[in-house]
């Protein structure tokens, strides 16, 4: 792995406003950038902050005011406490990585030269430029020997986008601005690029401002999400989980979508919820005793495990013989095997497909750790709905009923933790 300085900067917007005059007659029809109205927010060092909102909401304008492609009408942007407007313009821009949707690679330069753009502007020696270009291509997963001497026209959209990221990182800037960086590639490539980028960020830990109009991308990529609404107004700023749990306005609730409970589930992992103990037995164990224990449990299923505590399968209490020993042939193996890293959304999807709708959570050795029930997931979803004062969804289905806190002792303290 390449040695990256884990340097990042704090970016602060202080009452930043950008107003546009009515467009001149000859500019009619051109897309006008969105105005920004009294924006104040702080992006801590090393975090990904997503600016999301409908088109014309000022998210791109806000981004471009950081590297001063657009100058604010009023207010200040501070980078590590220094007012960006006092910095020398080209010097400021060379210290900020910039990635745009259309990538904008220079078609007349090789991939290697493209990547080394900013270091070259900074006057690095030639040998160091080549070295740096190769480091960065390797960092974004492109074989330097294969790609260095090609021209941009010889690359696929996804490869070009990776080169765009490498180019933005070349001079190791403390800040990266990314304007819909994965907007122009197909959904499968986008998903892969997003995952790669999140992994990369674990290494480089830059302060990243990232514009998108896609709420799912915002939730997936953001440590923090700033939701903008038309007119350049910051509607809500916070962690994705908090925004999904408690949208600050009707606009935010509508923008994040009525399925925000499900979206929360894609952010939560099994390690975030309490597990139920399983009633377990091994082949050969006394059946009568196992049957009694299964009947005592609300689930009324017995989980047969082997000597390494690995699950073999379920036995319904009615199938447990009244006497004698348990045998493997009784067990019905169909139930999803989950681990602590599985998201609740994936777990739910797998459990709905299974005969016994209870997930078996195992550790790295495959040994049973506990059970995940659909009730537990439903409780976690409802935590979001408690705050849903802006929803226009119909009232909760009476069949589901109110959650009974006594049902799951872990739910209450967890809920407090999430809201805190």
């Amino acid at each position: 792995m390449v040695d990256q300085h884990r340097q990042a900067a704090v970016v602060e917007f202080e009452h930043v406003t950008k107003r546009y005059d009515a467009p001149a007659a000859r500019d009619k029809g051109k897309p006008t950038p969105g105005a920004v109205n009294d924006l104040s927010l702080t992006v801590p060092a090393g975090k990904i902050c997503i600016l999301v909102g409908p088109s014309g909401c000022g998210k791109t304008t806000s981004l471009k005011m950081v590297n001063r492609l657009i100058e604010p009408t009023a207010g200040k942007i501070l980078i590590d406490g220094v007012d960006a407007s006092t910095r020398e313009l080209t010097d400021l821009r060379r210290s900020i990585g910039y990635v745009i949707q259309q990538v904008g690679l220079f078609p007349h330069q090789t991939i290697g030269d493209n990547v080394a753009t900013v270091p070259r502007l900074l006057g690095w020696p030639k040998a160091r430029l080549n070295e740096r270009a190769e480091e960065l291509l390797a960092l974004v997963g492109l074989d330097p020997a294969k790609y260095r001497d090609r021209f941009p026209s010889q690359l696929s959209g996804g490869e070009r986008q990776r080169v765009g990221v490498a180019r933005a990182l070349a001079a190791d800037p403390p800040i990266m601005l990314m304007d819909e960086p994965f907007g122009a590639v197909d959904p499968i490539v986008r998903d892969r690029l997003q995952n790669e980028f999140l992994r990369l960020q674990e290494t480089i830990a830059k302060t990243i401002l990232f514009v998108t109009h896609d709420i799912d991308e915002a939730i997936k990529m953001g440590d923090l999400v700033a939701v903008f609404q038309t007119g350049g107004i910051l509607a809500q700023f916070g962690r994705p989980l908090d925004i999904l749990a408690a949208p600050a306005s009707e606009f935010v609730a509508r923008f994040v979508g009525q399925d925000r409970g499900l979206k929360r589930l894609s952010l939560l992992r099994i390690s975030d919820v309490p597990l139920r103990p399983a009633v377990t037995a091994r082949p050969g164990d006394n059946a009568a005793d196992a049957r009694r224990r299964a009947l005592d449990d609300p689930l009324r299923y017995l989980l047969l495990i082997d000597h390494g505590n690995k699950p073999i399968g379920w036995i319904a209490h009615g199938d447990i013989p009244a006497e004698g020993g348990l045998s493997e042939s009784l067990a019905n193996p169909s139930s999803p095997i989950l681990n602590k890293r599985t998201t609740l959304k994936d777990a739910l999807s797998m459990m709905l497909d299974a005969d016994v709708q209870t997930g078996i959570v195992v550790d790295r050795t495959g040994a049973v750790q506990g059970l995940l029930s659909i009730d537990t997931i439903a409780d976690k979803m409802r935590e979001g709905e408690h705050a849903a004062t802006f929803d226009q969804v119909p009232p909760p289905d009476p069949e589901i009923g109110e959650p009974d806190p006594a049902d799951d002792p872990g739910a209450t303290p967890d809920a407090v933790e999430v809201r805190a």
């Binding site: 590297n67 492609l69 313009l89 080209t90 010097d91 400021l92 821009r93 060379r94 910039y98 745009i100 949707q101 259309q102 990538v103 904008g104 690679l105 220079f106 078609p107 007349h108 330069q109 753009t117 900013v118 502007l121 090609r150 021209f151 026209s153 010889q154 180019r167 601005l177």
Partner: protein, 224 residues
Amino acid sequence: MPPGTKVFDFGWVVGHLGSVGERIVQHLQLSILPLILGIVISLVLAVWAVRQHRVYAPITAITGLLYTIPSLAAFALLLPITGLTLITALIPLTTYTLLILFRSFAAGFTSVPAEILEAAEGMGYTRRQRLFRVELPLAVPLMIAGIRLASVTTIGLATVASVLGGDTFGGLGQLITEGIQTFFPTKYLLGAALSVLLAFSADFLFVRFERLITPWAHARVGAG
């Protein structure tokens, strides 16, 4: 044509290689100088027009007007002012290149995609760096297309100028004039053929030159 003379006398050509060579060199000078002047002037005008869109239309109008003046008339109009000097040839030859060169240069600059300009600006190129390292190289294919056209036109018009200018201008046009005056077809046919050859060669050279300096524009898409 007196009876008994050959239509084309190769022996004469071989015997006069020196003076024919001199005419070729003169013709090249007569063509290259206006071309260089035209390129410099058009480049300045094109950069100006790309920066300030409102000057594009007036520049096109003026260079278009200059282009419509018939070549013979232009030389004749200049004679009383500049006399029978090289300048009388250079001025019209230069102005004739401007319309073609200015328009192709401006087209070259405007062909640079907006996102590339934005990326360059966002990464901290100064305006001058962006012009010379990004806009100019990317404009080259369209610029050279214009230069090819202008060079062929200029080589042709230089023949007209040297027909008029006699010894002052020199050039292949003189071979043609002298050949006609002395009823010696070898000379005027040679003059005509060499002008055509010169025009073809110039065109070919610029095509090769363009491929040489813009390898990126010819890189095979998806090449292994």
